[in-house]
């Protein structure tokens, strides 16, 4: 039966039904769009995925650690190092664990301290001429602890005392590495792929 043959009242009802359905669809889509524009996510998600202010997606990883113990970040220490690495690392491989992106983080649980702490790290720079040095700023629990410029392919031992302000009564230690000279694999590549250092080992000592 052609549409024009449908009796007037039915046609009007169908027409009204069509408008009602169109209104429901439009309304639903506006509401869903409004929800999507106001994401309900935590700060870590927002920083990495939405604002893109970090290349290191924070996670709740906390590694167990005994003071005075050297943790290898080469293949041989993969199991223990895995618990300590929070984000911004790839590997490990034979020459250490490579940093990925503009920031990397380690996090360990520490016993109550009566004295200070010293950190000893073995690190090597990732070099691709003309970039032959790597500047690294190391922060502990958000407090700037040390800055170093690495050069050469051989690993270098970097030691520093952790500022008391960073320790306080903290039972965990978060060590952040900020890289100022990361090397992109290609000019168009994302900054999550930047390479800066190879971490070979990590150690904390009470002082």
């Amino acid at each position: 039966m052609p549409w024009s043959d449908v009796p007037g009242p039915y046609r009007r009802a169908a027409s009204l039904g069509g408008y009602a359905l169109a209104a429901v669809l439009a309304g639903s889509e506006i509401v869903i769009l409004a929800l999507a524009l106001n994401p309900d996510v935590n700060a870590d998600y927002r920083a990495y995925y939405i604002d893109r202010t970090t290349t290191c997606l924070n996670r709740d990883a906390v590694g167990s650690y005994t003071l005075g113990q050297t943790v290898s970040f080469r293949n041989d220490g993969a199991k223990q190092a895995a618990g300590i690495k929070v984000c911004g690392w790839s590997g490990p491989v034979a020459d250490g664990t490579h940093s990925l992106g503009e920031t990397s983080r380690l996090r360990v649980k520490i016993p109550p301290l009566s004295d200070g702490l010293a950190a000893t790290l073995q690190m090597a720079a990732v070099i691709r001429p003309p970039q032959i040095t790597q500047r690294v700023v190391i922060s502990v629990n958000g407090v700037r602890a040390h800055a170093v410029t690495l050069s050469g392919k051989e690993p270098r031992t970097v030691s520093f005392v952790i500022p008391p302000a960073a320790l306080g009564k903290a039972d965990t230690l978060e060590i952040a590495f900020d890289y100022l000279d990361g090397i992109s694999p290609t000019p168009a590549a994302s900054n999550i792929y930047k390479r800066s250092i190879k971490l070979v080992s990590f150690r904390l000592d009470a002082i």
Binding site: G17, Y19, A36, P39, D40, Y45, Y49, L57, C87, S190
Partner: protein, 387 residues
Amino acid sequence: MALEAVVRANASGRLIVVTIAAVPLLFVISGLAIRYAAFASVSEETGFAAYARALCRWDCAWYIGISEQGYERFPIPDHSNVGRWGFFPLYPMLVAAIRSVFPFPTILIATITSIACSYAACLVAWPLLEKNMSAYVLYCAFLLSGPFSFHFTTFLSEPLFVLLTSCVFLALKRSSYLAAGVSSALLSATRLVGVFVVFATVIQMFSEHRRQGGSALSFPHWLLGRPVLLVAVLISPAGLFAYILFLYLTVGDGFAFLHIQRAFGRVAGNPLVFLWDGLSAVPTTGWLPRAPQWSALAAITGLALSAVLAARRQYGAALFCALCIILPLITNLASMVRYVIGLAPLTMMLAVLLSASQLIWLAALVLFLGACYFTTVAWIGGYLALV
């Protein structure tokens, strides 16, 4: 006499129906044979299950994960930054639904479903190709036995995407706007770019309005006076909106499918720069183009074919295809070959163009079937341009 003519017409009609059904079936079989031969040449395993597993490369693993385990919440398990949210849900949902009835391995069900979708896409293409048998044969050969037939016969979104795209354009051709709207809704739940097909619908409506003597300015009023058309337009992106709502409720971020692209290393940039970088990545040894060159050439060919569609007054299809190429091109050239060959209006146009002369048609057919073997070997070997 009249009865005889009717009988003859019926018999001829039946023959055409049988031919239309048999041609893609023939290429399903030949495609399976060629791809299996390619698989057998590089694998020590045998059997259909091993073949299906071998062809499940790259994104296929993500679709299997979605089909079997669904989407993750945040934080993503195993301390990963990369979630499944970037992959749209309709096809893995369909495979999961079929698996709930037939308890076989996911990849087996997906492979068979993909072949069925591609076969159906061929049948839908028959009226879209204006019943041009030469073009139809070539199109079927391309999808089911061609150099990229593995994309249309393994667990990727392409088989369903091509089928639904064809359904949308067939519905538009017949001015069945509601059917086009529902197909578009499904298409927008298959891949993000599927949502762009709504522009083709609006363009078709506009053309119809103009054919009826309406002016451009009176189009909005004409459209608002037709609730069925309004529903057709508004229902078109419903699949995308449903997925956005799902992501909001599970992850807390309705645009997680976009935001997750950061973890895949996709960065927005100038498409022209990406094209130039791709073209200028010349091989250091040999003459065969490198993967970025193939990707750039695919994008350029796709855009050129979109222009041909526009020149033939298929404005809706042209805009849809151009947007489907340009949107991913904004981030980089990755998967560009797959994206271009998955655009049904372009491959149909290519089939029509290659059917212009018998010699070219024959050469194209032989090339499609011959290249299928080598590209399948390259796909199994992980050749980057085919990703």
